[in-house]
Subunit: 345 residues, 2 copies
């Protein structure tokens, strides 16, 4: 078993073309270009809570950086660097775990030119804490925050609300892995890939600068994260629930497309997963209606669905309606409790 | 028990006069002044490993930020901001724990004008991960790293080696708290304060810019951290062990000043604590002999002892000698094993 310094030297010391100084001193050093700001986000992942302790370490390495890059994407920031703090119990402090973990981590890091500049390793219950740094242009004229970063606070009444990609599959996979429902193998495979290898929407976030009025990533569930935008923007939204289902695997469950599901139960489960499931790492964003054609072009160029699911309204609160305009039972909005039920045992 | 967002709002959301944007969005935003670099360091503290789970939360709040500010001090960086990630089990997720924890944290943060800009909270085994950001001037002329930051890599043969303050008391207090030795109450009190409320040497670090040739903070023990400087600077050092004992409580143990100690055992324990105990958060630094008078003046103005304990030599390795120049048994240098023995059960 490698000691702390040997472990850092072997797995976590790499060249840093962007940073002034990387791993190996008391501090790392970063210098942003003139007129740029540093966007910073931290996520801590705990075994048994955010992932199964026996998950494939390659996939875990990917995911723990992906959830952080997703926060940069939500701000429209270009990834620069990250710090990694690891608490490792014995089985994970071995080469057999560390090597694939580092591979998964750096495969995603390299794809986004995001370099490891420092961190900490210690013995302890398996916990991964990443702080990620991205670059975004300042904007002295922007009020109240002088930045070009996408914030949660800019939504205006009349704006459209969009989500990228598809929602609910990660939550569906988790329910299946917990034995709480059975998915056909092909659906399970697709849903599980979304749970274990989420793709942070970095390119989308960068492209949305100057288009979106507000943006957040969907980590706590669509209603919860849209709720953050509404709270920071002091407004409300009317969500057309049937529009809110840009699903992959979950769509088939919703539609009763699998013979293994009672269709009522399937529809309800799928709706819960898409509205409140969490762990999706798509972006939810608002934009003035004048941006519809720009967004259609962007969706096409990125080959990523951007689905209009709601309209921002001045009155605070989330109003869920079905295709006929009828109110949908509000218990989907209790995402906190549902999210708690999804937590790993 | 407060939920995550309520908890963040109640305890961890404060004004951020220095940052562009603080807690509440997907990312925080920091912008450094022109010509400045950001010094970044991360430390993760795990209950049962770095602190007793039942430690006074006010003291813990202080300490977990102090160990990070100590890294900024070692680089000569001025504290700007920090991110806080917390995994909390049930007893710690209650107001009765969070309120004093936040008080201890912010008392030290405010003293150093270091503002909380973001983070994460989750349920899990008690773990505290802080990433701290400081500001340091760039220096295009400096080679190989274009910075005015104090690095571990600048020591030169002939330089003096200094330590600030006193060493070994934190380790001595830990041994006492573990029941592995008994300290007189007044010594225990003094030593325990060093363990639980270390004072990061931020002012010293800032003052050492332009004076010190290399610097590190003493978190892993003097020999270990001096060893980092030697490794990065490709040189060695001769340590005069008797000079290496600028102790507070431990000095009395070393001198057999307490009737409760067999003096041989006391001397040996004290020497281990000062050379390899760790958790001291003093600075070890090197400086050309031409800086001796500047350092004497600095020690006086900061009212902080700066003790010359060693000389840098071209030949790699650490050579320990006593007052008569005789080699001291090298097993003190096995700081890794000793540090491991000091780890909480």
């Amino acid at each position: 078993m490698p000691g702390e310094f040997e472990l850092i030297a072997r797995y976590f010391t790499r060249p840093v073309p962007k940073a002034v100084l990387g791993v190996g001193d008391d501090c790392a050093l970063l210098q942003t270009a003139p007129g740029m700001q540093l966007a910073i986000s931290t996520d801590m992942l705990v075994a048994g809570r955010h992932f199964f302790a026996d998950v494939d370490p390659f996939l875990l390495g990917h995911k723990c950086l992906a959830v952080n890059l997703s926060d940069l994407a939500a701000c429209g920031a270009r990834p620069l660097a990250f710090s990694l703090a690891l608490a490792l119990p014995l089985p994970q402090a071995e080469d057999a775990w560390l090597e694939p973990f580092a591979k998964g981590l750096f495969a995603l890091a390299d794809a986004h030119e995001c370099e490891l500049i420092g961190g900490d390793t210690t013995r302890g219950p398996l916990t991964i804490c990443i702080t990620v740094y991205g670059e975004v242009p300042a904007d002295k004229a922007a009020l109240p925050v002088p930045t070009q970063a996408l914030l949660r606070s800019g939504a205006q009444a009349g704006d459209d609300v969009y989500v990228s990609g598809s929602l609910g599959d990660a939550a569906l996979a988790l329910l299946a892995l917990q034995g709480r429902l059975t998915l056909p193998l092909d659906l399970l495979h697709a849903a599980r890939e979304r749970l274990e290898q989420p793709a942070p929407r970095v390119a989308l976030g960068l492209a949305l600068r100057g288009i979106a009025s507000a943006c957040a990533d969907i980590s706590d569930g669509l209603l919860g994260d849209l709720g953050h935008i509404l709270a920071r923007s002091h407004c409300g939204a009317r969500v057309e629930v049937d529009q809110a289902l840009p699903l992959l695997a979950a769509r088939q469950v919703y539609a009763g497309g699998s013979a293994q599901f009672d269709s009522d139960m399937g529809a309800r489960t799928a709706l819960q997963c898409v509205l409140a499931g969490g762990d999706d790492y798509e972006l939810v964003f608002t934009a003035p209606t004048a941006q519809r054609s720009a967004l259609a072009a962007l969706s096409s160029s990125l080959q990523l669905p951007l689905t209009r699911i709601a309209t921002i309204e001045a009155a605070p609160g989330l109003r869920l309606v079905d295709a006929t305009g009828q109110a949908v039972a509000q218990d989907f909005a209790s995402f906190d409790h549902f999210a708690a039920a999804l937590v790993l045992p």
